[in-house]
């Protein structure tokens, strides 16, 4: 059964995408494929998570070639959770995109590319091989390129050029780093690497690790290499930006977490202090960037950066509590940030603009949308007992415990500034009276539901995460311990023989 479950997300998404592309001429059929595929992905992700909870870390040797020789697919708590969240966001995006993008000429292609994007994301989360990780990164990257330019208006092309160019830098460095790591150790399997890297002398380790750090830092938009994100995300159509904002940078963070626990143990690379500084500055510059913006999507984009800082802070502190906090934060953030972008997109669709100055009167007209906005917005701002508070609480507590007072103070200040920008959106888009002459596009009943169902579901998830902290904390704690103590991972992967 494990053989099926571990590869199911990748294979399902790829089949969904391929068949949907094949049936592109018959739009309804193509959509049926997409919907069925997205739902089945969620089911299989749940099954995978169950089996991980049941059996601990599970692994499969793809092609039946044993561990260091072939490619392994591995799921521990972190991977399984990420896969499930991805599947859920994927399904939400399918629903939302069906409403938001249906009028565009290239509509079915969006769905196809989103599925291929999911292939890359799933693959990145599940693979146990560093070169294979590169391949999935590229799958993700090229489909994100595709999604980036499908509208192909002037602004989008401009954003796409920046996105493409700066991401190519990351890709090349990452590839080179893999080649060199292979040259130094002779292996590519991450479990095998975790046995062989400690035998390298520290100079090589530091240099190769810093190449990885650089590559992943761009992917996850860390200070000072985040420029591609605010330069491009706001040019995306709303139906797409939610999945970008929720998932793509988080794959980078995931890769950082995986590589800097399993392959290189962060304290051994000599980069820990650097990463702590980077985490703090990422939080700070991101939130300040958001404070200076007046466009919902741009505010939210800058917030992605600042929130990434919290996640990396968890990794950088490198204690079980901190990493658990980081993991908690990732899970919370994907849901919340995707939801905020969805709401922003809904407003944009209704009022034809995502500039705060053009918006207003939403609270009066749609009070329940106000409630739906408040939940993710104040969760992002870290208001208890919403989901965002807990991750923040854990990383701040961990940083106090490890004596990183400045980092803790920064995290708190960033929290305040996050409150500021969330209230800015609230006050401008919801509270302010509606500016005269702004259009108000009526939506059909079906569109309405396609828009709102994902928003409602994600908001409910936010609340549930906030209230059911105990099981989730246990889960994140186990995940953190699995990351910090690699023996179980290595044993599982290396023990899978024919």
């Amino acid at each position: 059964m494990t053989e099926w479950l571990l590869v199911a997300p990748v294979i399902l998404a790829l089949s969904t995408g391929t068949f949907a592309a094949l049936f592109m001429r018959w739009r309804t059929l193509s959509l049926v494929v997409i919907w069925v595929g997205a739902v089945v992905q969620v089911v299989s992700a749940i099954a995978l998570l169950m089996s991980v909870l049941d059996e601990g870390i599970v692994a499969v040797a793809v092609g039946n070639w044993p561990a260091p020789f072939g490619i392994s697919f591995v799921a521990d708590n972190l991977s399984a959770a990420m896969v499930l969240i991805t599947a859920i966001i994927g399904l939400a995006t399918v629903a939302y995109a069906s409403a938001d993008l249906a009028l565009r000429p290239s509509y079915p292609l969006y769905h196809v590319l989103i599925q291929i994007l999911l292939v890359g994301v799933y693959g990145s989360f599940l693979t146990g091989d560093i070169f294979n990780l590169y391949v999935w990164f590229e799958v993700m990257l090229i489909s994100s390129f595709g999604l980036m330019i499908l509208d192909a208006n002037r602004v989008q092309i401009e954003g796409a050029v920046k996105y493409v160019i700066l991401n190519l830098v990351s890709t090349l460095v990452f590839l080179l780093a893999i080649g060199l790591l292979h040259g130094a150790t002779g292996t590519l399997n991450m479990a095998d690497l975790s046995l062989k890297v400690p035998m390298l002398d520290s100079g090589k380790t530091t240099l190769i690790a810093s190449l990885f750090l650089f590559g992943f830092a761009i992917k996850s938009a860390l200070f000072p290499v985040f420029a591609w994100l605010p330069a491009s995300y706001h040019t995306l159509p709303s139906g797409v930006v939610a999945i970008f904002a929720g998932l793509l940078t988080k794959v980078g963070v995931y890769a950082l977490m995986r590589v800097f626990t399993l392959v290189f143990s962060l304290p051994n690379t000599g980069l820990q202090t650097l990463l702590i500084i980077i985490a703090g500055l990422t939080m700070l510059t991101g939130v300040l960037g958001a404070a200076s913006q007046f466009n919902i999507k741009r505010i939210l984009s800058f917030h992605i950066i600042s929130q990434i800082g919290y996640m990396v802070m968890g990794l950088a502190l490198y204690t079980p509590l901190a990493i658990a906090g980081g993991i908690f934060y990732i899970i919370h953030h994907i849901i919340v940030k995707a939801n905020l972008f969805l709401i922003g997109g809904y407003l944009q669709r209704k009022h034809g603009s995502d500039n705060l100055s053009d918006l207003g009167g939403t609270y009066k007209a749609l009070p329940w949308l106000g409630v739906l906005f408040i939940i993710p917005a104040f969760s992002l701002a870290g208001f208890p007992p919403l989901s965002g508070f807990w991750g923040k609480f854990m990383v701040i507590r961990a940083s106090l415990e490890t004596g990183q007072y400045i980092l803790a103070a920064t995290a708190l200040f960033v929290g305040l500034m996050t409150i500021f920008s969330m209230t800015k959106i609230w006050s401008e888009a919801f509270w302010k009276a509606r500016p005269d002459g702004q259009p108000n596009e009526p939506l059909t009943r079906k569109e309405h539901w396609l828009y709102l169902t994902p928003i409602v579901v994600l908001a409910i998830m936010t609340i549930i995460i906030g209230l059911a902290v105990e099981p989730l904390y246990q889960f994140a704690d186990t995940a953190a311990r699995q990351l910090l103590d690699t023996t179980q991972y290595v044993d599982t992967v290396m023990g899978v023989l024919r």
């Binding site: 294979i11 499969v60 092609g63 039946n64």
Partner: protein, 133 residues
């Protein structure tokens, strides 16, 4: 470019190249070659045809759109990948039917690569020629 000699020659050359490409594809498992190399040769062959005739001509000769070809290629890959799962083996395990012919899922896999790459690269080439010239 419209000289009859060139057109005839290019037809012959590209025909030969296509043959060569199939040959390279088949011997790939044992000698240098394989799906990707074969596919690129095929693309060059079609490219030659495209230059001597027209992109439209190539499209007509292909019968199918390049996108369709590449999707069929991906389906081959998927089939080769998933088939072993039904035999209780992990994904992408090579299954062989050596008794009859040296056939196995890796060959199907390589065929997938071959088709997908032809479709993809040729698709771009035709489009670029049509739009940019």
């Amino acid at each position: 470019m419209n000289s009859i000699i060139f057109r005839t020659a290019s037809h012959i050359v590209s025909g030969l190249m296509l043959l060569f490409s199939v040959y390279l594809f088949f011997r790939g498992h044992n000698q240098p070659g394989g799906g990707f190399i074969g596919a690129l040769i095929a693309v060059i062959a079609f490219g030659l045809l495209m230059l001597s005739e027209s992109p439209d001509y190539v499209r007509r000769q292909l019968k199918q759109t390049p996108l369709f070809m590449s999707l069929i290629g991906v389906l081959c890959l998927l089939a080769a990948a998933v088939m072993p799962l039904f035999f209780g083996q992990p994904l992408l395990t090579g299954l062989w039917w050596k008794e009859i012919l040296p056939l196995g899922t890796p060959l199907l896999f390589d065929l997938g690569v071959y088709l997908a790459v032809i479709g993809g690269v040729l698709g771009i080439l035709l489009k670029v020629e049509e739009e940019l010239s």
